[in-house]
Subunit: 429 residues, 2 copies
Amino acid sequence: MQRLSISQPDFAKAFRRIVNSRRESDEGVADQVKTILSKVRASGDETLVELTARFDQHNLSSDADWSISKAECEAAFHALEPSLRQALELAADRIRTYHEAQLPTDRDYTDDAGVRLGARWLPVDAAGLYVPGGRAAYPSSLLMNAIPAKVAGVARLAVVTPTPRGQINPLVLAAAHLAGVDEIWRVGGAQAVGALAYGTERISRVDVITGPGNAWVAEAKRQLYGVVGIDMVAGPSEILVIADGQNNPDWIAADLLSQAEHDPVAQSILITDDANFASQVEDRIDVQCAMLSTQKTAKASWDNHGVVIVVDDLDQSIALANDLAAEHVELAVADPAPLFEGIRHAGSVFIGRFAPEAVGDYVAGPNHVLPTGRRARFASGLSVLDFMKRSSFIELDEAALNAIGPAAIALAEAEGLPAHAQSIEKRLK
Amino acid sequence: MQRLSISQPDFAKAFRRIVNSRRESDEGVADQVKTILSKVRASGDETLVELTARFDQHNLSSDADWSISKAECEAAFHALEPSLRQALELAADRIRTYHEAQLPTDRDYTDDAGVRLGARWLPVDAAGLYVPGGRAAYPSSLLMNAIPAKVAGVARLAVVTPTPRGQINPLVLAAAHLAGVDEIWRVGGAQAVGALAYGTERISRVDVITGPGNAWVAEAKRQLYGVVGIDMVAGPSEILVIADGQNNPDWIAADLLSQAEHDPVAQSILITDDANFASQVEDRIDVQCAMLSTQKTAKASWDNHGVVIVVDDLDQSIALANDLAAEHVELAVADPAPLFEGIRHAGSVFIGRFAPEAVGDYVAGPNHVLPTGRRARFASGLSVLDFMKRSSFIELDEAALNAIGPAAIALAEAEGLPAHAQSIEKRLK
């Protein structure tokens, strides 16, 4: 953990180093991913069989080895302990309600020149969703990716997920049932992403691929961007907590650890105007961390990437927050409105002392798939729009073409494109 | 040019070959671009000086070598021939009006559980716009990229454009003045894209890079996707004209050539239900092409990539169009409504006999930066949203956390994330 004070002489430099530090390690995997993707493209199912045996110790042979049926998902859902089923249902309902309001409206109007103009939104035909196996097999993540796709109106939603040694997470199946997933394929890694993008004998290709994954999965999505649509280039999670000294340090410590327990390269940052409070939080982190089942991960993250910054005045946190452009920003202060107003770059903002980030991971409603690694400067969280596309349209009659056509001819001629000019000119005669 | 009939026995196979044909050639340039980008990252301005001298025969030394002032743009605008200036103004006005209606609305509400939820849209701080030099230096392209950025509210809009042997296109400068561009840097190629993404001593980094370019520019944007936002992976242009036999073949020939004259690897496709009409169009193409100043490009495109498909019934064109997912689709038929209804995948649709695609390139209003290479299956044309990003926000008081917190705790525990659970639990006590 690194502690900085805004009044220390080398603060600007030290802060810059934090802003620019890279916690993503995709360099080494790029070539491996490239090789895997071309193998999948050349010999689809054969490559999946080979790599799934090698990486997941799972043999793809019978239909049941290849995929999980809707009946199995439904059974997993009904086998859930009731309180857990209700929690999952509450989460799904709240996520669905929030995302339904994101559905865009079409435009269709005729302007003064007599030109009919518009834009029409339609869902993609098919979406693929990566669901990690093992440690990061999160039903919440399935809901957060699948529900926006279904709200968008995507007819076919295919999940790929590795089942190491055949092992399947029933919670993920239950979530798949609840979200209305259409197919689940038992493949993972870059090869699964390649199968979704190119299609194989068994798995039909999709148009958009979303969902979290390890460095290989993230790099496969990056390399396939353009062949398919993807949600975003994702890196390790991060949280920035801006807190005054009036908070319970135990609460803030838990918030910082909730991010740290995700990943050894996750990053938790506290900005406070109270050095004494900062020390109390640090102490509580040590105490709490020692009791966590996730302590190994949380400790590695906090020790290596944790940052505590003491400022003179919380107003100073605005510029720092905008530079960090963090995935999650908590405003645990008496009057959060002015800070919220100033923070331009953040994936999601959690306002007030009773808004721990974890509530947004599960049940608040907004998407928990958010831009990481300073990408909130230009990127947004996952939404219904990621599963839709817009076609513009233009309709003219002879009078409308007479009204605006001559200007287009002048510009086409100035650009040296005579066939452009003629396609209009011939109609004006 | 290739002519197919839907009733020929091998039609499905031949059509599939057209759908899957690749006209993009980024494979060879990937390594070169990678090298250029790391050089720019390591030694910014020095690399720009070196590569601009080598590729553009332009020496970057004085300030005037490096950039073009706003005063020069203004002077270029006022020096325009009046009819051309008016054409440019009409185009800018219509583009601005269409894009202003794309501005998204924020959300901010409190739901039944007492949870305040919302989404706030903000422009990115800075956008970079690539403007090609030489053959493809199009003022219309500058307007189509710059106006949405300015409508979005982007405070800093930096253009990069190569000026080979010092040569500057005054029309582009005039358009830059009209669109309110803030900076113009006289650099091009992958190195200019790298400079925008990483920043150099002279050029501050931006958050989003848009604009057309050659294979090196397109590949640089692809490689930098994630470091910055980009508009899309762009390939050569294409048009699909669906026409009945009642059209003037001369008009349709001009429409097909207007796409072909862009690029030797552009693609023009005609689908018609009238074989005789198809032959007439082919004849008119030969005649018109021979008279074009762009005939070399247009002929190469039409000869190598042009396609004419004769169907039995125009209803069959819908499935073909959706498979092709073309950048531009013209519906030159007596009753375009049912075809328009059926076409799900298209960058932009031009409806009726008096809507040649070229009118959309310049003055109709919708953006002419559109998805190519079948990407209309999942991507949309450039819009104001490409220069903005959305932050979600969540505010809870104690009662709201009591209402939805327990479900989040249940899910966090089920996912094996105890710090997540505790960050909520501690607040509920």
